[in-house]
Symmetry: C2
Subunit: 403 residues, 2 copies
């Protein structure tokens, strides 16, 4: 701009909100930047296996939707979501025993948007949230921007140690309890049926709502499915799930099921936030489920991930030194490794990169610190021979560290 | 849940955040609920004409993208957006004179998400924002949830009265100034070139950033295009636009161009908010622009909307009583009607519904009240004969009100 007037710099830093000042780039993000090496074997992401994406069915579905109802698929739509898709999701949840109607469903851009909206709906700076220790990083990140504190409960082989929930709630009033009941990210464990009961009773005594985050529930390789928490107490449990681990993460499609007073507010959040989720994507996803794509697809994914988990477990058995232990997940995408006390997986991570293998250092999943001797491995995205080679490299790094 | 323990109700209302308590259902939302009558002629929405949606081209593009790169289109992707689409948008903005690179572009789910993210990035409760009076309702709604106050500047035939901006900024420190330079929603007016200069000088003196919201800029029917504000001062102006008024609103695709310190933070907001915008949608949109769909499409839309604007203006000339005046937009989707002082368009709205015609009462666009004698009409979505009949009905309502 050519003008004689003195101009002031924009001074962006001083103009940012409190919330913006709480946003910092995550260690994970920094890690991912380091990983452009094509020879690197990465167990660090959370990506589904692309070889089972139903590409041909997506082609057919988009053709059909645009052919039959193109004007609707490309026009503005209602905030709540595409009505037939809401009906389908409610019916699916009723099959799992949850008393949910289409009016209880809000369609969102993947589970992350659900987590963010719930933060916006419930959290003021200083509010406490009860979480497992460790817990899902994406939830910690978005709720931190709202100024949340985290009151944590340890996680073991049977999931969150729910016998401790009552005591934690007594010590710190929590806006809600956040639970990943099935094939926990990062720990790979599943909350046992007795613990589900203990948790529901503890929160019911204090009136604390539960956020039940269930992105992996359908990906069970073995054992009996457990009833979701929302099936026991639909008036207190807000249930989140997603198409990201089945149809595709690239379409960004998930949902929240919530009682009417919460859903009404969530609709206002969604409207202020981005009006609605792509109606083209919603109609294509509904076409896919209506064509019966889900059942065979989920079977295929289960078989594939089960095989990859087994390959990883066998390789770990063979390659990892004594003193290292790990979880044996019954489903999902991740397993969790515990190193002897005193080892620091963040330091090991740098050595692992030199050996061209990557994982996520576990400490990022612990909201209040700790977990330095843990790490997360993903088994969904790598082929068996890649898993074997990666675990061989990682075993070498661990053996040297323990040496 | 069958348990002997006394349970507490969830008590949702008391658990909601300050932000949630600021969210209230808008009058527009309530109005839209009343409008299921199929005989109603509605000038109240802001929808593009669906008959020009490039449906066949969308079919071809989705086939091509899924065929050639389906695994990428359905997998997780980077938060910033699809790199070729960012390149395209930066190049397009450079053609308009703005010094913008791909690294300055963040892809979002339509402009509403951009407005929301900027609220989250800049606004703490009590912060002031400078806006036109009237201004875009969607911006007021999302920024209100962050607790913003609005310092307003009147809008006339040449857009915001920018000679008053300096005084408003002197009286109230504003986090940013929000401007709709082209074919203003709701007022239909365009900020003149001299006023753009005055505005840029006023904000530069105080270091105030500008948010330039330009959803309709390409839809100019007549007159010379004016240089966007971002072309004068890319270090101070954050520019927003969208594919909603060209390719399709149903795909939810827009972008923000911002200087590096702002874009870096916006990427963190996007990551916490929903990880990334659908990569399938981004790749399809990029395929469409690469195939050259935009130029002929935009020509077609301009011709169509120009005709509809002309039909509406002619019908108003014929049917509206003396004392009623209106803007003559050079582009966009809306025109703005001013009734004699003392008339209340909210009251007229109910009478109009009885006559089966709808508009948006203008007062909703005034952040601090006022504007009772104004209303907004949309001319993009109705066919000419429908526009004529709707204006005939509205003319009758106005004539009766004016006695």
């Amino acid at each position: 701009m050519t003008t004689a007037t003195a101009t002031q710099p924009a001074g962006w830093e001083q103009r940012f909100s409190q919330s913006a000042h709480r946003m910092t780039s995550s260690i994970i993000r920094e890690i991912l930047k380091m990983m452009s090496d094509p020879e690197l074997i990465s167990f660090s992401g959370g990506m589904p296996a692309p070889e089972v994406f139903p590409i041909a069915q997506f082609q057919e579905a988009t053709q059909r939707v645009l052919e039959q109802d193109g004007r609707r698929a490309l026009q503005y739509s209602v905030t709540e979501g595409y009505p037939p898709l809401r009906e389908y999701l409610a019916a699916k949840m009723r099959q799992d025993g949850a008393d949910v109607r289409a009016e209880n469903i809000l369609i969102v851009n993947g589970s992350q948007q659900a987590l963010d909206f719930l933060g916006r709906l419930f959290l003021d700076p200083g509010d406490a949230v009860l979480t497992g220790n460790p817990t899902y990083l994406g939830a910690l990140q978005t709720w931190s921007t709202y100024g949340a504190r985290f009151a944590t409960v340890p996680v073991d082989e049977d999931g969150m140690r729910t016998e401790l929930v009552d005591g934690v709630l007594a010590g710190s009033e929590c806006k809600f309890a956040y639970v990943l009941p099935n094939f926990h990210n990062p720990a790979g464990v599943t909350l046992s049926a007795p613990r589900r009961q203990v948790l529901l009773e503890a929160v019911a005594r204090r009136g604390t709502p539960i956020i039940e985050d269930d992105p992996y529930g359908e990906l069970r390789f073995e054992g009996e499915p457990l009833k979701p928490l929302v099936a026991y107490d639909p008036e207190r449990v807000l249930y989140l799930s997603t198409f990201s681990k089945t149809l595709s993460p690239g379409i960004r499609l998930g949902w929240i099921a919530a009682p009417a007073p919460v859903l009404d507010k969530l609709v206002l959040v969604k409207q202020a936030s981005d009006l609605h989720t792509s109606i083209l994507i919603q109609m294509v996803a509904y076409d896919l489920v209506k064509q019966g794509v889900m059942e065979p697809l989920v079977q295929q994914i289960r078989a594939l991930y089960r095989q990859r988990r087994d390959v990883m477990l066998a390789a770990m058995e063979e390659r990892f030194p004594k003193g290292v232990s790990w979880t044996r997940p019954q489903g999902g995408l991740f397993l969790w490794v515990r190193l002897p006390e005193g080892l620091d997986s963040m330091r090991l991570f740098r050595k692992a990169l030199e050996e061209k293998v990557a994982f996520v250092p576990g400490q990022v999943f612990f909201p209040n610190g700790g977990g330095a001797n843990t790490l997360r491995l993903n088994f969904s995205v790598s082929a068996p021979e890649v898993i074997r080679e990666g675990i061989r490299r990682l075993g070498k790094v661990l053996a040297e560290a323990l040496g």
